[in-house]
Homo-oligomer: 341 residues x 2
Amino acid sequence: METSPRRQPTLDEVAARAGVSRTAASRVINNVPHVSAAKRAAVERAVRELGYVPNPTARALATRRAGSVVLAVSSDEPGLFADPFFAEVTVGVSSFLDQTDLELVLLLANTPRGKERLRRILSSQRADGVMLMAVRGDDPLGRLAEQTDLPVVFGGLPLTGTPRWYVDPDNRGGARLAVEHLVRSGRRNIAMITGQVDLQAAVAREQGFREALVLTGLPHAGIVPGDFTQAGGEAAMERLLADRPGLDAVFTANDGMALGALRALRRHGRRVPEDVAVVGFDDLAGALYADPPLTTVHQPVRALGLELARMLVAVVEGQDPSPLVLPTRLTVRESAPLTSG
Amino acid sequence: METSPRRQPTLDEVAARAGVSRTAASRVINNVPHVSAAKRAAVERAVRELGYVPNPTARALATRRAGSVVLAVSSDEPGLFADPFFAEVTVGVSSFLDQTDLELVLLLANTPRGKERLRRILSSQRADGVMLMAVRGDDPLGRLAEQTDLPVVFGGLPLTGTPRWYVDPDNRGGARLAVEHLVRSGRRNIAMITGQVDLQAAVAREQGFREALVLTGLPHAGIVPGDFTQAGGEAAMERLLADRPGLDAVFTANDGMALGALRALRRHGRRVPEDVAVVGFDDLAGALYADPPLTTVHQPVRALGLELARMLVAVVEGQDPSPLVLPTRLTVRESAPLTSG
DNA sequence: TTGCGAACTGGAAGCGCTTCCAGTTTCTAC
DNA sequence: GTAGAAACTGGAAGCGCTTCCAGTTCGCAA
């Protein structure tokens, strides 16, 4: 057991020990050419002996690169991030960043302080880039994000305007798939539980829903707002059952609300799928373990996170990648089988 | 629309514009006394006009404080973080950090690179402190974390040894509550689906299970390992049904596995709770929306994250807070009512 | 007025690292 | 053997901020 030195060794000490200049030592550390093999070896040995780890802060100051990127969720609901969707996105982001030297800073901007912090990041050099998710319609940060010099990649489109870089699931297409499936299986009174109207994902899914119905010539059997939570889905379903008792299918803007809807239907003695078919959106772990297992629009959530990170890194490196729209597809399970209930 | 200056204004420019020294400007920015009101006002005006935002990197270098803390999940399964448990913890952590000036760096150390990164953080000044979760039994990082000078707070105890600072739910107590409830409601053949044996939380819950049974004098009706996932719980339940067809209750080490178990039971035509009662652990959103709604050991997950952050900040500020054990309690729902099925 | 502590001020020295640049050495080809 | 290019080297100047310290100024009681 050695007495640990109170302070971390610095590059100067490494250089001194290796008998080279600080410059040479720096070159070795950063794998820059123009260093003789002998010096390189000497420095490497000194690094090992001293247990030297470069101070990232000093490096960041000198290179004018923060060495980190921010994943920001701009929302007012503290619990939004608790949605498995974001956890899954985060895993994807992290798995890409793992291959780089960038750190991931998580910013849940659900308070005034949090928003202010995001604002500061967008106008300082604290990070090398930002991934921005869940931007609400009225959020001034969305505009700020498009004006700043800092690379900003949007995870999901904002409600208005089209940013230069984004990755977005095919929400409209996915919603259409859901409706087409329901119609094909004989449903004629299809209702929808939407998400917050100021979130683009919610709006796009509702649009897809409406479009698909228009194409088939069917009227909708009610469209009620939810909030992407189970409780919200349950409440919305209650309302639908009261207003539109004749419905025979419901499409929800995410899986969580579908679980809530299932609960409400169960309580009212409606059988799923015999009386009412249910289709969700996301296809996260919960969908498979619902009762009955949920038919749902699958979106590649983890891949979304991964591509988001990949795109941001590309922008940070000076490239200009194209926006990405990720495909969605339908996963058919018992809550809405193809054969009519 | 003004032409944005390519570079951020610096403290020097603020000082120049305000007609004061850089030192005085710095004092104003940091709310340090010994500045006349006049200068203070002048600086504040200059800050406003220039849109000055302090460069955090430079500040970090000068103060030798990184201004960030790390939440590290040391696990080998990439998907572990996707468990709603961690999302919920993260929300708690974030909500506390929101009140401070610290940034949250998320590190999902599930690859060799990730582990190496965590190692470097623990031995550099990259962050001011680390919250460490899900440390496996054989993880050398656990030991390293206890030796470093950097403040490290454990979220959940490691398998061996007791760190100086940690916050841990009362896993054993919670498990005992579950068993006592099942026994009280007349169950006599109680099985358990555990988590990974190298995670302390899993071990402690199993201990609590065994202890409670010993106290009542009942033998257990099978203990099979799961992995905290729904699929794992389902598979474990399958095994139990094959090996111990006579069981009338099962306790799972988390809610996810309970959902899997419910699915297996359903497939085998066992009614819940009439034939088999099910009790989970966590009481996250999914529990309420399971079918039937899940009786489960409630642990204050978000509070755990919040306390974790609070404790770390205290340590960073030089205090020596006491470890915390958070209480668990039973939430009774239909999957295991008090009245015997 | 004078004297003295308290309050204020700004120059200068870092924090630890990168990188420009000018100078030195080594190598290759004639 | 020599010119010229290529490779190497290290001094020095920052990156933008904090903070020590040695003054200078101010307010107020005597």
